[in-house]
Every structure is written in C-alpha cells, then in structure tokens.
C-alpha cells in the first residue's frame, strides 16, 4: 500500500524537528561515522584514526583523503582468528541461551496465562519486575552462586551429590546461565501475551473434535503462539550476541564474545578502526534477525489506522 505523502503545517514541523534533529545528530551521524572509521588506519593521534575529515579541508581535501581509505581493518579482522572465533562463539552462546530460555519460559508463561484471571497480571508483573532492577547486579549475584567455593557447589557437596566442586564459574556455561537468567523477562513477556490472548474455546473445540491434550498443545496452542515465540527469541538473541557484561563477569579468559573483544580493542588496544569494523560486522551478522524483528514490529505497530 502506498503511503500518501502529506505536507506538514508549521506547528507540526516544529514538533517533528526536535526528535528528528536529535536522531540525525546523535544516532545517524555517529553510525555513519563508525562506518567511516572502520575504513581508516589506526594512528597514535587523538582521535586515534586517519584520515579525519573536517569541513575546513574543502571538497578537494576530503576527496584526497578519501583515497587513503581502505579495507585494511576488515582484512585484518578476516585474518585474525581471535575475531572469527569471537563471532562464532557469540552466535553459538546466544543461540544455545535462546533455546534454553525458550524451554524454560514456555511452560512458565503457559502456566501464568492459564492461571485464574485475577492472578494473571500479578504473576506476569512479578515475572518481569526483575527487568527493572539493575542488570549488572543480577549478573553479579551469580558470581557468588557459581564460584568453586560458591553457594551451589557448597550446597551440592554438603548434600554429598558431588565430591569435588564443579567448575562452572569462568566458563562458557556460566555465560549461558547468566544470559538465560538476565534475559528471561524479555522472553516471558511476548510468550505470555501470545498465550494469554488465545481463546480457550479453541482448545475446547479441538478437544471436542477428538484431540488429546497433547495433540491440542501441538496442533493448536503451539502454532498459535508462534508470533510470540519468534518475537521472544529475537528479543533475546539479538542483544545476547553483542553482550559484554555477562561474558566479562561470568566468562573465563577464553570466553571470546564479540562485545567483549570489541570493548578490549577499544579500551585496551585503542584500535578504533578495528573496533569499528567489528561493530559493523556485528551489525551485518545481525541484519537478518534485525530485519525480521523490524518487520514484525512494523506489522504490529504500523497497522493502517
């Protein structure tokens, strides 16, 4: 459907101008800038990359400098095992975490959606409330639980289930646990709203037509909740790939996730072009899921009024 173009009135322009300018200056321009920096060479100057463009150079100056742009940073990333491993580990950890989260969140959301009506909003409210509390602190809380001398090992040994402490802390497994825990509310909310909306009469109709409870679930409940499953998975997978705090606090030194590698390149190595190229590649990796998420949201929010 073609959107009819419209001329805006003066007042409308004034309302639009503030957020528009802000977004252009503080979002679109910065994004364009890192795309540009990723094509530059590292330098010892401040800002630590070359060439820098400035309006004083004039068009000729900019063009001359533009010739010195290059894909060195990208070539270096392609050669560097560190980055390749980071990308693969990030996708793997995010994928495994998303799958585990779905398996935990689905029965949880289903139980809440089928709870007595007056309890439902209280339950889902409690389930997403941790989202409001500090992410950092929630990740930190797991250190005390997962450490070799932490509470979980302590409890398991006291119960004589294990003899020696399990090494969970500082492994990829700990990162997965941290992601599952931190992002669970994001998975719960779309699942819950998809499940809560389902008309109970549909299940009754299926049962009436001879479906067993298991068949009702597989043939009716699960297919109908698909939009919720997709939304939930995207909502947790995308940020999990670029996660920094969780691998940094719970992961070991060998846990290479792209967010952390990028952070180190930036703060420790001061290699801005490499970090920018890593960010651009991260976006490229996520572009598929991002577009799917964007489409889903557009469909939900841009319904023709």
């Amino acid at each position: 459907m073609s959107v009819p173009r419209k001329k805006l009135s003066g007042g409308q322009r004034a309302v639009l101008a503030a957020p528009y300018l802000w977004i252009v200056v503080f979002f679109l321009a910065p994004m364009a800038l890192i795309a540009k920096i990723s094509l530059s060479h590292p330098a010892e100057t401040r800002p630590p990359y070359e060439p820098t463009f400035s309006i004083d150079d004039g068009l000729a100056g900019v063009l001359a400098k533009a010739r010195t742009l290059g894909f060195d940073a990208y070539r270096a990333l392609a050669d560097d095992r560190l980055y390749l491993d980071s990308y693969l580990t990030s996708l793997l950890i995010a994928g495994v975490s998303t799958a585990i989260m779905l398996m935990i969140a689905y029965p949880f959301a289903l139980t809440m959606a089928r709870a007595p009506r007056r309890l439902r909003s209280l339950l889902i409210g409690l389930a997403v409330a941790p989202f409001w509390t500090s992410f950092l602190i929630r990740v930190y809380a797991w250190i005390a639980l997962l450490k070799d001398e932490g509470l979980i090992n302590h409890a398991l040994m006291a119960l004589h289930i294990i003899d020696a402490p399990l090494s969970i802390y500082a492994t990829n497994g700990a990162v997965v646990i941290g992601i599952v825990y931190s992002y669970l509310p994001f998975m719960l909310l779309p699942l819950y709203s998809a499940l809560e909306r389902q008309d109970p009469a549909l299940r009754e109709a299926a049962a009436d037509l001879g479906a067993s409870p298991l068949q009702v679930f597989w043939r009716v409940t699960l297919p109908l909740s698909r939009p919720g499953v997709i939304a939930g998975c995207l909502l947790v997978f995308i940020p999990a790939v670029g996660e920094f705090v969780i691998p940094d606090l719970l992961g070991g030194s060998e846990t290479l996730m792209i967010g952390r590698t990028l952070w180190n390149d930036f703060f420790a190595n001061r290699d801005w072009p490499a970090a920018s190229a890593a960010a651009i590649i991260l976006l490229a990796l996520l572009i598929g899921p991002l577009l799917v998420a964007e489409r889903a949201r557009l469909r939900a929010e841009e319904e023709p009024s």
């Binding site: 321009a29 389930a127 997403v128 950092l136 602190i137 250190i143």
Partner: protein
C-alpha cells in the same frame, strides 16, 4: 494438574528471585565469606557511608538518570505524536526506523558510535555527553510506550475537542495529555531505570569526573565478590523495588503495563 502448575510457578519464581534474595541476605552477613553465616550485621552499609567515591557515583547516576529521562520523555513524546498523528509525511519511514533502531542495537555498537561522534564533534566527554548518550538510547523506549498510548487513544476524542472549539494545541493539552499521563509516567520511569542501570554506553561516553554507579560497581566487582558491593546492590534493588511498588499502586494497574 494443579500441583504441576504450582510447581512450575514455584520453580520459575525461585529461579528469578533466588539469586537476588541470596545477594540481599549476604549483604547482612557479618562474615566476608559467602558460604559462612557470621551473624546479622549492617556494618557493610555503615561502611558505605564513608565511601565518598561510591556516594558521588550514586549522585551522578541519579542526576544523569533524571535529566536524560526527562529529555527522552519529551523527545519520545514529540516523535510519537509525529508518528501517530501527522500521517504519511516525507521520510516518515526513515524517521520511524531511526527512532526505534536503538531498541535492537547492541549496546557496544551504540556506545562506540556515540563516542566516535563526540570525539569528532570535539565535545569534552563528561556529564553532558553522558546525558546526551542516555537520552538517545532511552528515547526509543519512551517513543514505543507513548506511541502505543497514542494509538490506543480514540482519535475522535481529539477531534471532538477541536469540534467544540479547542485549537489543536489546546485539544492536545486538554484531552490527549490527561489521557496519556500514566504512559508519560511509565515512559519516564522506564528511561530513568534504564539510564540508572546502564554500564556499557556510560563507559564509552563519560569522561573523568563523571563515573556512574554501575561503573563504580563494575570496577569493584572485577576485584571479586565483596560485602560492600552486596550492600550497594541491595540498596539499588530496594530503591527500584520501591519505585515499582509505588508506581504500580499509584497507577492502579499491573506492573506489566509498565514494561
């Protein structure tokens, strides 16, 4: 069946709240060891009072959160009004996409981009750049909340006000604002807590002299689990918990509408 459901709920909530509650309990542990209960004590809280750096970081975090949330709410409101009410203006698609893109953008990417821009613009990094960065990344959340509120509003309410002689501005102030007031409050709270909680973007965009509480906690956490960090964390959790409870009661609606 009933039993199975209760068990699922019990396990689910234990998983969600267990670690937080254990952390809070540990902050009252006189012993420095996680696995040893050395008796109830508030000494870690008392120690906090002498920690000037942490108190200062808390002050900065609260100011940044309040200021950036106010800016993000106003910008988000303007963006939502434009998207919900101005029809299909030129470059609307670009605007819609750009406003909401930070929702799904990895924080490291946004932080890096903002820092590069601040350096390129020649902005001295510190409190101001921190506020700008937080307003930018929380604006998409406020816009989503307010856009949903405006879409949920019957447009004929505004038309009725204009039909009865109110100018478009007055119709907005007299009819739309009261109707979306709860959503304005949730949008502000959302932006406030997101800003208060942010570590990654703050680390990129702040400068010396403007260390936020999450940055301070992070630097201490890297040194290991300490009872002092447990105490700050518990205070922060309690603070957000109280805000949540008050807003849930005041708005007289379930907390999920705020999310």
């Amino acid at each position: 069946m009933r039993f199975a459901r209760s068990l699922v709920l019990l396990l689910g909530f234990a998983f969600l709240y267990g670690p937080i509650l254990i952390l809070a309990a540990m902050s009252f542990n006189a012993s420095k060891l996680v696995t040893v209960w050395g008796g109830f004590s508030t000494k870690w809280y008392v120690a906090l009072l002498d920690d000037a750096a942490t108190l200062n970081a808390a002050k900065i975090s609260l100011s940044v959160a309040a200021l950036s949330a106010a800016i993000a709410t106003l910008l988000g409101l303007a963006a939502a009004v434009a998207l919900a009410r101005f029809g299909g203006f030129r470059t609307r698609g670009l605007f819609f996409g750009a406003v909401h893109a930070p929702l799904v953008l990895p924080e490291v990417v946004l932080g890096l981009a903002l820092l590069s821009a601040f350096v390129a613009f020649g902005f001295e990094r510190g409190f101001v750049t921190l506020v700008i960065a937080h307003a930018t990344f929380t604006m998409c959340f406020t816009s989503v909340v307010l856009l949903a509120a405006l879409r949920g509003l019957d447009p004929s309410q505004e038309e009725a006000a204009m039909d009865l002689g109110a100018t478009p501005m007055r119709a907005f102030a007299l009819v739309v604002l009261p109707a979306i007031a709860p959503s304005l409050a949730s949008a502000f709270l959302l932006a406030f807590t997101l800003s208060l909680d942010d570590l990654v973007i703050a680390s990129f965009t702040t400068g010396p002299g403007a260390t936020t509480l999450p940055m301070r906690i992070y630097s201490q956490v890297r040194l290991g689990v300490t009872p002092e960090v447990n105490a700050i964390s518990t205070l922060l959790l309690a603070f957000v918990g109280i805000i949540l409870a008050i807003s849930a009661l005041a708005l007289n609606r379930p907390a999920r509408d705020l999310a």
